[in-house]
Symmetry: C2
Subunit: 173 residues, 2 copies
Amino acid sequence: MSMMDSQQDITIRPATSADCDEILRLIIELAVYEKLEDQVKMTADVLRKDCFGDKPLFYCIVAEPSQKDSSQLVGYALYFSIYSTWEGASLYLEDIYVTPAYRTRGIGKQLLKHVTQAALDMGCSRLQLSVLGWNKSAKDFYTRYGYVDLTEKEDWHVMRMQRKAMEEYVKNV
Amino acid sequence: MSMMDSQQDITIRPATSADCDEILRLIIELAVYEKLEDQVKMTADVLRKDCFGDKPLFYCIVAEPSQKDSSQLVGYALYFSIYSTWEGASLYLEDIYVTPAYRTRGIGKQLLKHVTQAALDMGCSRLQLSVLGWNKSAKDFYTRYGYVDLTEKEDWHVMRMQRKAMEEYVKNV
């Protein structure tokens, strides 16, 4: 079966409110793969509110088998606008994931193509994402398509404050 | 002069459209300090459109001397919403900067307090930023207040694709 044939089984489309339980299932699958699943506090209701409520906080596209013999999604990509004071409007790809049984069929590449096209359509100068250093296959994939590792090249480190530390800071400064 | 007295000379307030030339001057000052000024493609007009146009892409606050003997700003912080699939709504601090002549007066801490309060008011779980590994004084400052270096702790790397590579990708995949 050629790559083309296998891709015809999969539809990539914008997520809808009804997809949020399935998207959460895939978010957890990805977190388990990243060995950081204890950090997942998300619920399907919060996803629904944050993507389809009054003030959408992100965009999401999903991959599903075209023959609807199952309601299961097999992949998703979730992204949002960010801003660079050096280059202006940019896009951040928070998650991109394809479930193991559907890999090597080009679905990840197609999801990334949709996100990249969205970034171009929005006039973005940059498309950014974060990857775990030990995830060599992911790093190699991105590098092959022209992503630069800014942590290696320019020594950028990601710093994070959690809510409890935020509350302490505003109380004490 | 006590910290309190010196702070009374400075007002921290939301940026206005009229501040954009001054903000750009400070953006460039910061980029020069970071030894990456060749990457700055920004103009005051783009800043104005992106913060005060139909679709604001970021928030900005500025620090200015209370006695308006000068129209110069002495610091700024620029931030925007991001999203975590594990913890939901979060805030990203793109830039925080105080011009050298006004340092050690607590202005940076006050700017960061405003941003942190904004994050709490927006219900954010996380406040994130990026720092250059060699910028030890900045790293120490953030660490002292509860920021965790996720690049060191969990091996997260920042990857970036520029527009030219994006155009190639959508053409070839």
